[in-house]
Amino acid sequence: MLTSFIKRGAVAAVALAGLTTAAFAQMELKIMAPAAPGGGWDGTARSMQQALTAAGIAKSVQVTNVTGAGGTIGLAQLIGAKGDGHQLMVNGFVMVGAILLNKSPVNLTQATPIARLTAEALVVVVPTDSPIKSAKDLAERVKADPAKVTWAGGSAGGADHILAALFTEAAGGDAKKINYIPFSGGGEALAAMLGGRVTAGISGYGEFEGQIKAGKLRVVGVSASKRLANAPDAPTLKEGGVNVELLNWRSVVAPPGLSDAQKTELSGAIDKLAKSKEWAEILKARGWDDAYLGSAEFDSFLKAETVRVEKVMKDVGLVK
């Protein structure tokens, strides 16, 4: 008798709790990954899908892929979906450069910023047997002759390239003369580092972590404002006297022309997502760092990043 009463009470409580979240749980979202299935943005979109439904924030989430041109084709489609309050798109730092590089007719500032989700610090490394010991050593070489310092990293105009340029400028070298060699995929760049083919390499910390811990690569500096929690021994670039900071972030944006109510609903849902334990579990499993910024802060952050990237790309001569 008593147990059945408790049961009934529990059912009622659950139903009540269900009612309060009902407004959200009815939401049907579409998340576009502006890249082919399997890539980083796709992974973010599918993880969001998983967490949003598991946490009961949205009733259904559909992930679509729009491939091509550093995500700018997807962006163009998003800009075209004016006023659609159920559409989101994953994007990131790389897209800022791709827009400039591809002379994209649409711009990220046209979209409605919703939130920044994750960020990863980059790391500058040299082979262990290199005479370069610190950021200061590398800076001196870059200043003396930028041509003789070969950098290995990811695609042209990407985060790695921008960091190499920022480093060169901060060191007092001529960014126009930078000798940056883009490799396809982290593996090839890493092989070039291990084989001693290049002076220094840049990538996300995670990609080089194994080699750093195995003592094959030496950290010259990480691009974060303070030392990383999982690598307390690695100094920041700033500590080495090179005043550069750069994070490779990922975020979500929505189409332009949303009403205030739509905006609040979307950013509310993503805010819930970012604070859910389901999302925290995914971040941990995937090794992503939480870098949540709500829509207002993300908006001004995005504007600042756009200005910065544009200047660097002009300095390096990637954009005329």
Binding site: G43, I73, S184, A191, A192, G195, Q211, R286
Partner: protein
Amino acid sequence: METLLSLANGFSVALEPSKLLFCLIGVFLGTAVGVLPGIGPALTVALLLPVTFKLDPAGSLIMFAGIYYGGMYGGSTTAILLNAPGESASLATALEGSKMAKAGRGGPALATAAIGSFVAGLIATIGLAFLAPWLVEIAVKFGPWDYFALMIVAFVTVSATFGDSPLRGLTSLFLGMLLGLVGIDKLTGQARLTFGVPELLNGVEVTTLAVGLFAVGEALYVASKRWREPEEIIPIKGSLWMTKQDWKRSWAPWLRGTAFGFPIGALPAGGAEVPTFLSYSTEKKLCKYPEEFGKGAIEGVAGPEAANNASAAGTLVPLLTLGLPTSATAAIMLAGFQQYGLNPGPLLFAEKPDLVWGLIASLFVANVLLVILNLPLIGLWVRLLAIPQPWLYAGILVFATMGTLAVNPSPVELGMLFGFGYLGYLMRRYDYPVAPMVVGLILGPMAEAQLRRALQISLGDPMILLENPISATLLGIAFIALVAPFVMNGLNKFKAAED
């Protein structure tokens, strides 16, 4: 000895019933999805990654290994039966395999592919277990100049796919290189030959070109001469299984294909395509029945298919020993490792020997399971060819478009697929070989990027290509391969004149 012990330990992990089950699921999914053109093992693993969050690390990695090997098997099936190479690595297989299938020898073609993959997988996995640390030392020594030289060797040997006219073969090759220019330049990030069409910025997909030229082009060509000389597809002629003669002609190509595939696959930028091309042209040179090449020579299936699978195992060498992902699938497997907080590399062997050796042992198991799974299926697959011709080709076209629609359903991409299909039809009509075009698209951009990287490192000095022993040797081989036929020809003429 120590390695053997570790391996035995690994088998004790891999042969646990639950791990066997994961492996079986993996090879089954891999084969099933690998059969679909355009959806390779990389995509399958990526899609399955979230599903495995809750599995234990060993189990899910073993499943991935199964998918990886299974995908490689599946690719050859469509290449042989439908002439639709779903991934660039099974291009060479399609050349002879599809001819064999049409002549009623699909059974032996699939069998030699399956057993060749098994043999190659077995030897390469042994190589992975015993030679990995040593091989990887050499592999990372390869600089951009060495890769460039390797590409040149591959370029020179491509002439094996030219058919009877070097002019038409070269035209096809250069058109492929032309297509390779389209899109964003890898080294400066600026657009070439895109004419303001954003969809072209990513360049021409190899699978789009291959499926268009091969499958769509073939369908159009067969339809165009249906009344004049109706094509007869014979599902089975002679033995469904390999004859004694087939075995005799297959075993050496299997071994040679493995010898190409494993080391080149282990190179960080080696890839799976180059060894298949090298194997194809080598087999053509060495074959006792060179006149059969182009009409369905079993060596042309046995060699490349072995090379393809051996390179898949080769890719795991840098992945496991250094944590270097050198193919799309390997990159996703790396993500799979990382979701359990594991970082492949020198430390992993020391820290988690059970896991690493369990994975290597399960590669052996996956190989055995694949052969058991695939050989009985051959009879079933071959019967596909008994479908009435209108439905068969209608099905092939549905199949060919499916991959493109799933990965990139843009009208521009579909338009390219069918444009290439029509081009393939015209090329067949005027007797231009289509394979060199795909080869040009694959090798052209790779060679260009490596050469430019080499010259960037040397600050523009081309001597860097000859100063390094590996690149100098490879360029020497390429040179000899290029001039030898002319010299031999001249000598023969000289001799003939003397007689």
